[in-house]
């Protein structure tokens, strides 16, 4: 009995890792797989206290934050209430929900999911694209409703081979998408913040120019101030009536209202979307369209990647609390400020 009390007491003394909102990933894998003798989780959402009060109360013991997609952003305001925090770990690759400038200023380390999800996200992007072009989901539904026998053959799809693919953002994920689509006899070109010196794919300075010269746009970039609503009516018009867009980045990279309008009016041929501006809300107009494939932000959701991510998250937290080098430290360089608290960054390495 005394032993368990000691254990419990010891656990209470462990440094705390703050979680602001339930993380689906942890629930899916199982909370027990995140148990550690170096830290415990502190769930802010379990408390009846208002958030600021909760944070002020517990701030001496909160040494790290575990952030995820869809959780409240880790803003400068929140960080000001947590003077002991030395590390922010995210379960995502994207870091748009973290005030990186403030972290930099405070010397707070940041660790993301690195390239763990690259394969899964790239696989999913290709799957969405094939589905849109070949109407896989639509004709699967057609068969299940018994219409093949009664109404005859389903309308023809469009060939993937030979299509010109424009990758928006040639990072780990963009590169993985490109490599896969090359095997389908597609040609690849890209737009990125900067031309990549060792890449032979044609580079386009502007996303509009890229769109004008390809049949498919695949959005693989980060959400930042610069990329917010970067895909708008102008870009989609340049993509054209036969064009298809696939988004496995973030919903807000696309001006959703304008994209929906383009789809309704036939200004583009179709879309494969895993992300939306206001998840889980999806524009109702899309539900009636059979040239659109929708998924609930699951491009990273495979058990294999989640176990890898679990290892990485726990590994990073334990390394931090043991004063060892992080497994996936984000080493971004601040090169300029924008008008908001988020800024433009050059990604050097993740590992």
């Amino acid at each position: 009995m005394a032993e368990s009390t000691d254990c419990h007491k010891a656990q209470q003394d462990f440094p705390k890792v703050l979680i602001l909102k339930p993380i689906p990933f942890i629930n899916l894998v199982g909370e027990q797989y995140f148990a550690s003798n170096k830290f415990t989780f502190l769930e802010a959402y379990d408390s009846s206290l208002p958030l600021h009060q909760f944070l002020s109360t517990h701030s001496p013991s909160i040494k790290a934050i575990l952030s995820s997609v869809g959780a409240p952003p880790i803003t400068a305001d929140i960080l000001h209430l947590l003077p002991e925090v030395g590390l922010v770990v995210t379960t995502s690759v994207g870091l748009n929900q973290v005030d990186l400038l403030e972290c930099r200023r405070r010397g707070i380390k940041v660790a993301n999911a690195g390239s763990i999800f690259s394969d899964d996200v790239a696989d999913f992007a290709v799957g969405l694209l094939i589905d849109v072009l070949r109407k896989v989901s639509a004709s699967d539904g057609y068969v299940r409703k018994g219409l093949w026998a009664t109404k005859g053959d389903y309308p023809l799809g469009s060939k993937l081979g030979g299509k010109r693919i424009g990758i928006v953002g040639l990072g780990n994920i963009g590169f993985a998408v490109a490599k896969r689509l090359e095997a389908f006899r597609c040609s690849i070109s890209y737009n990125s913040r900067k031309r990549k010196p060792h890449v032979s794919y044609p580079f386009y300075e502007s996303v509009c120019e890229l769109a004008a010269n390809c049949d498919v746009l695949v959005i693989c970039c980060e959400l930042t101030d610069q990329t917010h609503h970067m895909i708008n009516k102008e870009v989609l018009s340049a993509l054209g009536k036969e064009g298809v867009i696939v988004n496995i980045g973030r919903g807000a990279i696309i001006n959703e209202k304008e994209m929906v309008q383009c789809l309704v009016q036939g200004e583009i041929a179709g879309a494969g979307l895993d992300v939306f501006e206001n998840e889980p809300d999806v524009p109702l107009e899309l539900f009636a369209m059979d040239n659109v494939v929708l998924s609930p932000h699951v491009a990273v959701f495979t058990p294999e990647s989640f176990l890898d991510l679990r290892d990485l998250v726990v590994g990073n937290l334990e390394a931090f609390f043991s004063n060892k080098p992080l497994l996936s430290k984000f080493r971004g360089l601040v090169i300029g400020l924008s008008n908001s608290s988020y800024c433009r960054l050059v990604f050097l390495t993740f590992f």
Binding site: G127, R134, V136, V143, G157, L160, P296, E304
Partner: protein, 339 residues
């Protein structure tokens, strides 16, 4: 102008061919067995004297009530209705069967060879599309893309998160039949980091993949089994209970070949009992009938035989059919001869 059919290389001159004089191609009777593609139908109408079997309830007997059997010199068939013994016997002047397909299982090849009837099909032009669909089916099943599209559309996303699918990259892929389509599938799967192995009638000397001379061994060794071979007497029901059990509860079966490659009854019971992890099917034993038990399953993706059904490929296949017919009736070599 005398139209003298010249002997084809290695074949006897067909004694049934009549000498035809003063006839143009537009008068040549071509029978289309079903409404396979509008563009093909238009082209056949333009270039030949087209007869449509479906206007006679798709029945040869009915057709012969109102048409002379000897008017038909060419048949354009597909995966639904080809050229069986009955059809061949009904058209004594039949010279060529041009199939709007690469598969030849609906054509009585032995009868054609016996009677000196040429046969042409549509290889290569559809290889990419069929291979693309195979990968699309794998991703659809493993990553549950179709199921998640349905999930969002019926408004379930607001209630709960979707749950886990399974990773494709890096899985082991086994291909049954490493022909043109099998090879194209292998090339695509390799780009996803998959290891490739195959079962074929004989080992392919230039294929850098692991060869299994026994299909059970192939099924045991891989996580994704893809049927990509031709349908013959030997390959009928090649995917039986034993193969399905070897593939196992974590395995998935992809069929872009012919429905008859798979013992459909065994497939259905394996899926219902969880002895097979999932299936992506483009073909079925009795199209367009699909086993009812499959319609409610979340671990299958069902396609209505659309392997080559893109605008681009359908048109390319049609052009090839027309080119083969024109070549034959101009005494030129067929572009894609089978016989």
């Amino acid at each position: 102008m005398n139209h003298q059919p010249t002997p084809q290389t290695g074949k006897e001159k067909n004694p049934n061919l009549k000498k035809i004089s003063g006839l143009t191609m537009e008068s040549i009777g071509v029978l289309m067995t079903c409404p396979m593609h509008k563009y093909l139908e238009q082209q056949l109408e333009t270039h030949f004297n087209l007869f449509r079997l479906w206007h006679c309830n798709s029945s040869i007997t009915e057709f012969l009530k109102t048409h002379q059997g000897n008017t038909i010199r060419a048949v354009v068939g597909d995966t639904n209705i080809g050229a069986d013994a009955e059809l061949i016997a009904s058209f004594p002047n039949l010279e060529i069967v041009a199939s709007y397909s690469v598969g030849l299982d609906k054509i009585d090849l032995r009868k054609c060879e016996e009677k000196g009837i040429r046969v042409a099909n549509t290889p290569d032009v559809l290889t990419d599309d069929v291979a693309d669909l195979a990968i699309g089916l794998i991703l659809g099943v493993l990553r549950r893309i179709c199921a998640s599209d349905e999930y969002v559309r019926i408004g379930k996303w607001k209630d709960a998160d979707f749950g886990l699918a399974t990773k494709f990259s890096g899985k082991s892929v086994g291909i049954v039949g490493l022909g043109r389509i099998g090879t194209a599938i292998a090339k695509r799967a390799e780009a996803f980091g998959c290891s490739i192995s195959y079962f074929s009638r004989s080992q392919k000397p230039f294929a850098n993949y692991k060869f299994y001379s026994n299909i059970i061994d192939l099924a045991t060794s891989c996580q994704i089994l893809i049927v990509a071979c031709a349908l013959t007497e030997e390959t009928r029901h090649i995917i039986d209970r034993e193969v399905i059990d070897a593939l196992g509860p974590k395995g998935i079966l992809i069929n872009i070949g012919r429905g008859a490659h798979v013992d459909e009854t065994e497939l259905v019971s394996a899926l219902l009992e969880g002895r097979l992890g999932g299936a992506g099917l483009d073909v079925y034993e009795n199209e367009p009938e699909v086993p009812e038990e499959l319609l409610g399953l979340g671990n299958v993706v069902l396609q209505p035989h659309v392997g080559s059904d893109t605008v681009e490929t359908s048109d390319a296949m049609a052009d090839l059919v027309i080119s083969n017919l024109k070549a034959h009736f101009s005494n030129k070599p067929l572009l894609t001869p089978v016989i």
